[in-house]
Symmetry: C2
Subunit: 324 residues, 2 copies
Amino acid sequence: MEKVKKIRGGDVRTASRLIRNLEDGMIEARSTIKHIFPLTGRAHVIGLTGSPGAGKSTLVDGLVESFRKKEKTVGVLAVDPTSPFTGGAILGDRIRMQRHAEDPGVFVRSLATRGALGGLAKAVGDAIHILDVMGKDKVIVETVGTGQQEVDIINHSHTVLVVLIPGMGDEIQAIKAGIMEIADIFVINKADREGSSKLRREIMAMLDMAPPETFAAGWRPPIIRVENAFEPDGFGKSLEELSATIEKHYQHLVQHNLIGSRVRRKAVVELNEAIRNSVLEPVLNRLVQNGEIEGMIQKLINKETDPYTLAEDVARRYLKECSG
Amino acid sequence: MEKVKKIRGGDVRTASRLIRNLEDGMIEARSTIKHIFPLTGRAHVIGLTGSPGAGKSTLVDGLVESFRKKEKTVGVLAVDPTSPFTGGAILGDRIRMQRHAEDPGVFVRSLATRGALGGLAKAVGDAIHILDVMGKDKVIVETVGTGQQEVDIINHSHTVLVVLIPGMGDEIQAIKAGIMEIADIFVINKADREGSSKLRREIMAMLDMAPPETFAAGWRPPIIRVENAFEPDGFGKSLEELSATIEKHYQHLVQHNLIGSRVRRKAVVELNEAIRNSVLEPVLNRLVQNGEIEGMIQKLINKETDPYTLAEDVARRYLKECSG
C-alpha cells in the first residue's frame, strides 16, 4: 500500500492526514490501519497524565529535549479538550512546542475530543501505531483529566507517568483514584512549592497500602521531584533524572518479560473498542435511518415504556442467537 | 409490585437496597426500574459539577438546608470516585451530611464508580428515578470531574450548576470545555479569594462568544458568587441567592415549555445507555464464555491480524441483517 510505504518512510504529511481522518472517524482510514497494525511494536510508548494546571506540557517539552540529546526520535500526541463554543482545540497549536518545529526528529500532533462523540481512545491508539511505524523511538501521549476515557488512553502505554503538584487539597487524591493504579512513575511537578514533602508522604502512604502484587516484578513506582521550570538548571537536572527513570522502567519491562503484558493490555483495550464500534454503530445507524429511534424517544417521554424494555427489544431484533 | 409501593411510600431501606443493586449491575433490579419509570417526572433534578477542591460538598450541604427551610424534601446523590487500593468510596460517608441524618425529609446516597466498569451514568439515572418516585421535591446530583461520564451524568438534570473557584490557572477553563456548554448557572465558590473578578470576566467573555441559540429562550447562565463558608453570614446569604436562582431557572423551564426538551435529553441519554448495554453485553459475554476472546487477543499480540478485522468479523457473526 502506497500510503503505508510513505508513512514507513516518515512522511509527515501522509501521517498527519491519516491521523486527521481517524479523528473524524472515516471508515477508509481504518483500512489503512489494518495494514499498519502488523508493522507496529517498535516504539516505547510513554503516557503522561495529570490534572489541569499540573504543568504537563512543559514537562513533555523538557522530555522531548532530553530524548533528542540522546539521539532518539520522538513523537508527541497531545489529547486536547475542545469546546463547541470556540470550535477547535482550546489549548491551541501547542505553541510551546514550536522550538522543536524545525527538528525532523520530532513529530507533534494534537488530537481533539470534538464534543462528546467518544471513540477518542481508539483514535489515539491508532495514532500511536502510526507514529510507531513512522519510526519514532519514543512516543509520548499527553492527556488531561481523570475520567475513564483518560484511563483508556493511557492503557496504550508501556510507561505511565502521573503528574501531581503540591497544594491541591485532599480531594485531588481521591479524583486520581482511577489513575493512581496505572502509574509506573509519579512526578511531583513544581516541587519547589509548599506542600511538596506532604504530597510525597501521601503518595508513599498510598503505595504502602497497595498489595505487593500491584508492583509488577517488584517495580515500586518511584517518585521524581521536578523543580520549577523557571529555574533552568534545576529543571534540566530533574528532567534528566526523569528521563533516566523512564528508560530504567522500560529496561525493567524488557528484563522481566513484562513488555508482553503491556502489549496484552493494549490488545484488550483495542479489541474492546473495536467491537463496541462495529457492533453498536450499525445497530444505532439502522435505528436512526429507519426513524425508529425517534418513536422510542417519544414513547419514553410519554412514559409509555422504559429504556430497558426498549433496549431488550432492540437486542432481540438485531442480534443473532446470542441475545438470550 | 410490593417494592415499588414501598418506595412510593418513601421507604428508605427498600430504596437504598435497590440503588445498591443497580450499582452492582444486578439484572433483577432493572425489572423493578421498569415499574418505577412510568411514575417518574415529578422531581426537580439539579446537577452540580466542578473540579476537585471546588467545595461542591459544602455547597450541596448549604443548598439542602436552604430547600428544607422552604419545606421542600431533598434527595442527594453523590457520585464518588473509588480506588481499588483502598476499596470503597474515598470521600467516605459524606460526614458533613450527618447533620441532616435525623431529618426524614432528606435522603443522601453515595454512588461509587467501582474501578472502571462504566455504566455508572445509567445507575445514576435510575437512582434519580427512585428518589423522584420516593417523592423528593428536589434531587441534587453531585459529581466530580470533567470527563464524558460526568457530562452523561449531568445530562439527567433539569438545572445544571457548574462550580468554579478563583486562581486555578487558565488550563482549568479548557478542561471544563465539555461541561461549560451544559451550565445553566455558574457558581464562583470561595469568591473571597484572589482572582474572583478575573474568573467572572472570563466566564462572561466565554458566554459573549457563544451563539445566541445556546441560551434556551433567552436564559443566559447567571454567575453567582458564593462567599467563604467560614463566614457563616456571607455564606448563608449567597446560598439563598443561589437557591432562589435555581428556583428561577426551573420556573423559566416551565414557563417556556422547556421541561420537555430536558426530558427529551434525558430520554436520549437513557436509551443510548440501555441499548449499549443490551446489545454489547450478550455479545461480549458469549465471546468470553466460548473462549473466543482469548484467541483474538493472542492473534493481536502475534500481529496476525488487527482489531478492526476481528471486530468486523464479530459483527458479521452476531448481528442480524444490519451488519452491512
